[in-house]
Amino acid sequence: MPEPSRRSFASWLLSGGIAASLASFLYPVLRFLRPPSLPEAPVNEVVAASAQQMPLNSGKLVRFGSKPVLLIRVNETDWRAYGAVCTHLNCTVQYQSASQQIWCACHNGFYDLNGRVVSGPPPRPLEEFTVRLRGQEVVISRRA
């Protein structure tokens, strides 16, 4: 093996220096491109509606922190709530009172009133929330 000459050492030093300086330029750029995680105030429950104002067999989208939740009033006493984000590709779902199903318009996914997939491409059921009545207020909270 030939002995490393002064020239090859200088060449190695130069290319190594350039590579190191490039890395030192690129590292902050790459870190800059990554969006920071913004801490959100934890939301555990929200007052979603007034029981009197919500008709039977209807749905309503409500804000739960930064996510939408679908509140459904099935009948006089049966209330349900599901995360309104379709498990397929993240579209916001809606309640179809005629078929009593939850529908995602983006890729035609259907869920039943238990949040389970009935048809279409969604791979998982919707996230379920707890609903309770506090007087006339309908309160939605995360499942424990």
Binding site: L33, L61, V62, N90, T92, A105, C106, H107, P121
Partner: protein, 367 residues
């Protein structure tokens, strides 16, 4: 000053520039540049039309920049202001949107004409690859520009697109977060997409366009092998037409035709603005992406929720990715080890791809 002085001064000025720019070499180059003439010559114009429409995009995009504001609270209103209050604002925006769509259409026509006329053959592999990158960048322009008016359709289309990126193996979640500027499509996404649309993508496109055009200059315009063969048998050279002025004037007429089509479409069918995006509203019925994403969109609709161990959209994304890579590598699989062309395979794949794109796009539009 006597009348004869003026042309002399102009000649002197021209000579001054000539000496410094070496324009005579460029003139010499253009004077000797020729384009083959045969039954498929008409397809050569589509690359130029695509370039022309890109120029329209740049010009109208710069004009829109004078009024557009890239924030979630102001974007929709600023586009509304452009189309309702700014003189000819509706026309400029409509031309920008229509020419974007026409540009992608002509880029696809250009790509398939290159496939069927065998313009990708050795030594033009890099010309093909740079063209594929340009098509990808055009789709990137379409995807990023679609969100900018911040309307309902564009909002959900971006949600779906970014979530699809999240389904990519290994890098998916980080890529989606990078695209969205967070965990969901918000004002941060809009600002990012604006940056991609007006800075990152134009810079990349300029570089790849320069490479693509330089390669077209280096190797000239290709002649289909069956025409080369026919002329070889006849012992006759392939007829050529001078690039300037013959081909260029014809190309100019094609640009006029494209401009006329663009003017008619933009004036008679102004691009709609739709409703302002509401992140807490459901996705509206009949939602669909731009026509050039309809085929994969409809395919995703048909895929079951699970395929083997993968979720449907993951399988779909992997399938689309592999198809895109395979298609990009066309110059390397469309010839065998001995350099012979795999004609049946190539034509079959080309026709199947066109059939899938057109039929699924129509199904996606009407169903």
């Amino acid at each position: 000053m006597p009348v004869t002085e003026s042309p002399r001064a102009a000649r002197r000025l021209a000579g001054w520039f000539e000496e410094r720019l070496g324009a005579d070499r460029i003139r010499e180059f253009i004077a000797h540049k020729t384009v083959p003439v045969h039954s498929g010559t008409i397809w050569y114009y589509f690359g130029g039309i695509t370039l022309f429409l890109f120029g329209i995009q740049v010009l109208t995009g710069i004009l829109l920049l004078l009024y557009y504001r890239p924030t979630a609270t102001e974007a929709y209103e600023s586009v509304q202001f452009i189309v309702t209050r700014v003189e000819f604002g509706w026309l400029i925006r409509s031309i920008h949107s229509w020419s974007a769509n026409l540009m992608i259409f002509t880029a696809f026509v250009h790509m398939f004409s290159v496939v069927f006329l065998r313009g990708w053959r050795r030594p033009r592999e890099l010309t093909w690859l740079s063209g594929i990158v340009l098509l990808g960048l055009s789709l990137g322009f379409g995807f990023s520009g679609y969100l900018l008016p911040w309307n309902t359709i564009s909002y959900f289309a971006t949600k779906v697109g970014a979530d699809l990126a999240a389904a990519a193996p290994v890098v998916g979640p980080a890529l989606a977060r990078f695209l969205r500027g967070g965990d969901d499509v918000t004002g941060a996404t809009l600002t990012r997409f604006f940056g991609f649309h007006v800075a990152v993508l134009p810079a990349l496109t300029t570089a790849f366009l320069a490479l693509h055009l330089a390669l077209v200059q280096r190797f000239g315009i290709s002649t289909p092998p069956w025409i080369e063969e026919r002329n070889r048998r006849r012992g006759a050279p392939i007829p050529q037409m001078p690039f300037a002025p013959n081909f260029f004037l014809r190309e100019l007429m094609a640009w006029y035709a494209a401009l006329a089509a663009l003017g008619v479409l933009a004036a008679l069918f102004p691009w709609p603005l739709g409703e302002k995006a509401d992140p807490f509203a459901p996705a509206p019925a009949g939602i669909r992406p731009e026509w050039y994403f309809l085929a994969p969109f409809y395919t995703l609709k048909l895929l079951p929720s699970h395929i083997w161990v993968l979720e449907g959209e993951q399988a779909g994304l992997i399938g689309f990715g592999l198809l895109a890579i395979w298609w990009s590598a066309l110059p390397f699989w469309a010839v065998d080890g001995a350099g012979r062309e795999r004609t049946r395979l190539l034509n079959g794949v080309g026709v199947l791809l066109i059939a899938w794109l057109s039929s699924f796009s129509l199904l996606g539009y009407f169903k």
